[in-house]
C-alpha cells in the first residue's frame, strides 16, 4: 500500500526567509510524486511533479522539490517566500488505478 507522511502540520516563517516542507513516501508501484497547493477557500492545484529523469523539479513560482530514492523523500523548498505563498501544501503519490494518495498537508504561514 502507498502512503505519504508530511511531518509538519504547520510551518510558520517570515517573509523572504527560506522554507522546506518535508514529505516521505512509501510505494510499491512506479514512483510518481506530486506537490499540490490549496489557497484559502479554493480547490487543489498542481505545483510540481516528479515522473522520471532529473531528481530536481521546479515550479514556475520558485518552488523546487528533490526526489531522493534512498531516503524515500520528496521535500519541497523555496529560497525566499512571499506572503502570497501562505497556503496548505499536500504531497501525493501515485497509487495505481489512476488514484493519488495524499499526505495530511502542511500549512505554510508566511508573516511580514
Amino acid at each position: 500500500a502507498q502512503s505519504v507522511t508530511q511531518l509538519d502540520s504547520q510551518v510558520p516563517v517570515f517573509e523572504e526567509a527560506p522554507v522546506e516542507l518535508r514529505c516521505n513516501y512509501s510505494s510499491s508501484v512506479s514512483v510518481y510524486l506530486f506537490w499540490y497547493v490549496q489557497y484559502p477557500n479554493q480547490g487543489l492545484q498542481l505545483l510540481l511533479k516528479y515522473l522520471s529523469g532529473s531528481t530536481l523539479v521546479e515550479s514556475i513560482n520558485g518552488f523546487e522539490a528533490e526526489f531522493n530514492k534512498s531516503q524515500t523523500s520528496f521535500h519541497l523548498r523555496k529560497p525566499s517566500v512571499h506572503i502570497s505563498d501562505t497556503a496548505e501544501y499536500f504531497c501525493a503519490v501515485e497509487s495505481g488505478y489512476s488514484t493519488l494518495t495524499f499526505g495530511k498537508g502542511t500549512m505554510l504561514l508566511v508573516s511580514p
Binding site: G43, S98, L100, F102, K104, G105
Partner: protein, 114 residues
C-alpha cells in the same frame, strides 16, 4: 481553461436527509474521484470511477454511494446524512492514462449536517 465544477460551495442538510453532491468536468477525462478533506487528516478517497457506469471504492466508502451515468458527471450520494459526514468534499478528474498526469480539482463543497 480546464474546469471541474462542483454544483454547490456550501450546503447545510439535516440528519437523515439524502444528499447529492454533483461534479462536472469539461476535459473529457476518463477518471473521476471524490475525496473528503478534514483538518489534520488531509484528503481521503471515498470513491472513484474510471469509466461511465464504473465505480470503485476508495479508502472510506462507508455511508456513501456514487453515480456516473455520463462521462462528464460524477455524483456523490449520502444516503442518510449524519453529523460525522460534515466535511469539505472535493471532486477531481484525471486523464485515462492516469499515472503521471495531473489531477484537476473542483473548488469543493463544504457540507454541514445538523
Amino acid at each position: 481553461d480546464v474546469k471541474v465544477t462542483q454544483s454547490s460551495r456550501y450546503l447545510v442538510k439535516r440528519t437523515g436527509e439524502k444528499v447529492f453532491l454533483e461534479c462536472v468536468q469539461d476535459m473529457d477525462h476518463e477518471n473521476m474521484f471524490w475525496y473528503r478533506q478534514d483538518p489534520g487528516l488531509g484528503l481521503r478517497l471515498i470513491y472513484f470511477s474510471y469509466d461511465v457506469k464504473m465505480k470503485e471504492k476508495g479508502d472510506i466508502p462507508e455511508g456513501y454511494s456514487v453515480s456516473r451515468e455520463k462521462k462528464e458527471r460524477f455524483s456523490l450520494i449520502l444516503e442518510s446524512a449524519s453529523t460525522n459526514q460534515t466535511s469539505m468534499y472535493l471532486c477531481a478528474s484525471r486523464p485515462g492514462q492516469g499515472g503521471n498526469t495531473e489531477a484537476f480539482f473542483g473548488q469543493g463543497t463544504r457540507l454541514t449536517v445538523v
